[in-house]
Symmetry: C2
């Protein structure tokens, strides 16, 4: 019934990954610890040998979601054949809109985070700062003095568009919102 410490670490990581996915799908209060454990293939009672509290799971899950997102954003910086417009297209894609569980936690959970602990909000702040840095790298700065302001415009627009597109039931309007990428790119070129 018991496991080795190495196995426990893998199980711990798996629980965090399941939570990171489910929290983005149903919100930070949308699933209980017993169900997260169940979906990770464990029983609810074992939870508190892995986490001090539910809040700690939320913190680890957010950190996990941010880390995975950074890894996926890195390819747009490292691959010279990919540019800002590819990133924007991917961020506003139907695939991203329809799969919050594997997508950007910033657009999926900003409202939840606004009502969360200082710790969760601090992790979120660091992630937004990191996303601004990534965006600044993707903007090949014609006007260096405006690069940061442009990066902030891009992030607010993208996060807003995805958040709104997911909330809207009218599929045509939802799709229309994602065309904001073209308007944004035009505005950044000007």
């Amino acid at each position: 019934m018991s496991r080795s410490q190495a196995e426990k670490a893998l199980i711990h990581e798996h629980i965090v990954e399941v939570a990171a996915k489910r929290f983005r799908e149903v919100g930070l209060n949308g699933i209980g610890v017993a169900d997260v454990m169940k979906e990770a293939g464990r029983t609810g009672g074992g939870f508190y040998k892995h986490f001090e509290s539910r809040d700690k799971l939320v913190e680890e899950a957010m950190t996990c979601a941010y880390k995975k997102r950074k890894e996926s954003a890195a390819k747009y910086i490292n691959d010279p054949s990919l540019s800002l417009s590819d990133f924007v297209e991917s961020y506003l894609s139907e695939r991203h809109i329809n799969n919050p569980g594997s997508g950007c936690a910033v657009s999926a959970l900003m409202n939840d985070v606004a009502r969360s602990s200082e710790t969760v909000r601090a992790l979120f702040s660091a992630e937004v700062e990191s996303q601004i840095a990534t965006m600044m790298t993707l903007l090949n700065d014609k006007k260096p003095s405006e690069t940061r302001a442009q990066a902030i415009l891009a992030i607010c627009t993208l996060a807003g568009a995805v958040g709104l597109a997911r909330a809207i039931s009218d599929e045509d309007l939802s799709r229309e919102l994602t065309t904001v990428g073209h308007t944004l790119l035009k505005a950044l070129e000007a």
Copy 2:
């Protein structure tokens, strides 16, 4: 102990107003019906003589929040001394960021709505469509063919900025995000 039907209607309206405020502050699942009743000066048990279910309260509260927001947006359209930049400044003001309970329900609850019923999402869709129309009126269209795209850019940017600014714990970064208004207005003028 009982009240007249006229009084009941006033009480009903007051319960909806309390819910509209509290839902925007703590999320659609952040407060129970008993506490809403208590804050409206009633006891929890009377709730179901006013609403068929908790979901119905959410629907009425969202409708109420949208209606009040439309009234407040109307003055930017009707008063010729107020322009788009005044609206943007007000939307991104510290006052709006710090008071979600009396602010725009779209930026405060988009993530919650994305996980809600078809009815709630349909009400949200109509509100976004209405905000696009308002924004189009505020944009004195130099290029009419692009007015709608520009309105969508503005709404995504503003909703995103307010959502992010509320979630971020770093006050300097939060304030910096609200300067996106200048970048947006410049982009719309170009």
